[in-house]
Each structure stands twice: as C-alpha cells, then as structure tokens.
Amino acid sequence: MPLFYFDFTQNDVVNDDTTGQELADLATAKREAVKALAEIAAEEIPRDGKLFLSVTVCDHRRDICFTAKLTFEPS
C-alpha cells in the first residue's frame, strides 16, 4: 500500500508527520485527513478561542496531494 504523510497545523504550530501512514489509495488518504480534521476540531473548539487547523496530505516523495483548512472564529 502507498505511504502518505499527514502534516497538521494548529494555529501557529506546525506538526510534521515523521512516520507516515500506509493507506489503500489517495481517496482513502483524503477521507482519513478530513475525518481527522473534524475529530481534532471537535476536541479543540470547546477549549475556547480562535482555531485554525489545516492538514496537508503528501505522497511518499513528499509531493503535496491535498490540503484542507478549517477556521473557527467565535465573536
């Protein structure tokens, strides 16, 4: 199975994936990335304050395949 890397950014903190994850294909990797983003948002948003989250999916060569971003701005 191909290897994908999932790099996350949370507000200003960049969290690079050092190990990667073997998944069936890019469609699965995208689905997993979106699910993870939603799960992290569900945990982080109730902690209060602004939240910016992004996930970037890279292939085994570290070429970017997909990016998703999420912003939460309570007023």
Binding site: F6, D17, T19, E32, K35, E39, I40, E43
Partner: protein
C-alpha cells in the same frame, strides 16, 4: 495440567479464591487447542457456539461491524481470559470473536464447562464474577469512547492493558507485547487512523510511552495515568495494591 487451564487458574486467582475442588474440576476440562492466524475470526457474529474459548497465547478481540464496514472493537483478551464465557447461556453470538494477533485458543465444550460447574459449585460464583468484571470493563471503555479526548482514551487503553498484563504475569518490567496495527488501534479508540497516529506520536513526544506496534513500553506511569484519568478499581482485583502503587512492582 494443560497450560491453558493453568493460565485460567492464574487469572481466576487474581479476582477470587480458587479452591482445590475448583482446580480439580478445571484440570479435568477437555481442551482442544487451535491456532488462529492474525485477522481470522474465531467465532463470527451470528454463529451458534458450542464451546468456550480460553485464550492461551496472543490477543483476541470482540467487535461488531456496521453494514458500511466500519468496525468497533469492544475489548482485547489475552492469556487466561475466556472472552465468550457468556456463550454458555447465550450461544448465538451477537458479535464477533476474532484473533487480532496470531492466537492459540483452547476450545472447551459447553457441556464440559457445565459439568465442571456441577462438580465444583463454587466455580459458579467465580466465573460469574469474571463475567461481571468483563461488563465493568465495557462500562469503562464506553465512558472513554463517549466522553474522553483521543489522548486520554489512548492513554487509558495502555494503562488498562499494562495492569492486566502485569497481573497475568505477562509484562516484562515496564513493557508488554501488543501486536496491533494502527488500524486495529483506531478501531479500538473510535478515531480515524490519521488521528490515532497523530495521538500516538503526541504521547511519544511527551515521553509517556513507546509503541512500535509490537511492544508497549511505559516510560512515565504516573503521567500516563493522570492523562488517562485511570482508576483500575473497575478491574476488581483482589489485590488492593493494584492502582495504588507502581504496577511494575507488583
């Protein structure tokens, strides 16, 4: 005595008194050892079971799968556990018992277990207690699945397994075997594979534990336990030290 029965007695002695009569009755149980490769089903959902499965080596799991293919793992079982003891009275499986790693399982016919209970009635209370503890563990897992964040949930799983492996004599200092893939782990924790992977990296980075998908090493027990909000009372060990001291010293 068969080594599977010996493992069962070790397990039962951690939760209650096992009399000589009980041991004689258990030792007389006919067991048929079978090997299951990792990923195989031991007893599938819906099947009518005619024997109980006593785990001798490796890890078994119980799970159910939704029609869309999403699987939830409810529990893990290792040497000395009988994860389908309930099949004695509820023979139609309402979930799957499977091998999450390569497993050796001793199958004990239901009739033989019922016969042993007739010969040693004090076993009834002991096995009932074991089943009740199993239910208590489900409540603890449910609480974590429904209410805890991913890091606490993962920490709780590792805390529970460490205590159980220590009590079964299967931990080596601060380490124990846990041959699980990240997909297995995510099906236990109810999080996506990517979030599971990220959470594991977070626990590693905090220096709480190490896990290479084969072996878990606890690096900071008290911190891990605090993160998990882990109180092992639900495991109902007779030894009241469990949970109050470093389990590595048990």
């Amino acid at each position: 005595m068969n080594s599977a029965i010996r493992a069962l007695i070790i397990r039962l002695e951690t939760i209650g008194e096992v009399t000589e009569i009980d041991k004689v009755a258990l030792a007389a149980l006919p067991v048929q050892e079978r090997f299951y490769t990792r990923g195989s089903e031991i007893i599938p959902d819906g099947e009518i079971s005619t024997s109980c499965c006593l785990i001798l080596e490796g890890y078994a799991y119980r799970s159910k799968t939704l029609p869309d293919g999403n699987r939830q793992i409810f529990s893990l079982h290792t040497s000395g556990d009988i994860p389908d003891l309930h099949s004695l009275y509820l023979p139609k499986m309402d979930h799957t018992l499977g091998a999450i790693s390569d497993c050796i399982v001793a199958r004990i016919p239901h009739d033989a277990v019922k016969d042993a209970l007739m010969r040693a009635p004090s076993l009834i209370g002991l096995l009932w207690r074991d089943t009740l503890i199993d239910a208590a563990a489900f409540r603890a897992w449910m609480l974590m699945l429904g209410q805890a964040d991913a890091a606490s949930r993962m920490a709780h799983l590792f805390c529970e397994l460490y205590i159980r492996q220590s009590m079964a004599g299967l931990a080596d200092g601060n380490s124990f075997a846990l041959p699980l893939t990240q997909t297995d782990l995510s099906d236990i924790l109810g999080t996506s594979v990517v979030h599971t992977n990220r959470t594991l990296q977070d626990l590693r980075r905090r220096g709480l534990l190490d896990f290479d998908q084969q072996v878990v090493t606890i690096l900071a027990w008290e911190e891990l336990r605090a993160l998990a909000q882990f109180d092992p009372s639900y495991l109902h060990y007779l030894d009241r030290r469990v949970g109050r001291v470093d389990p590595a010293k048990l």
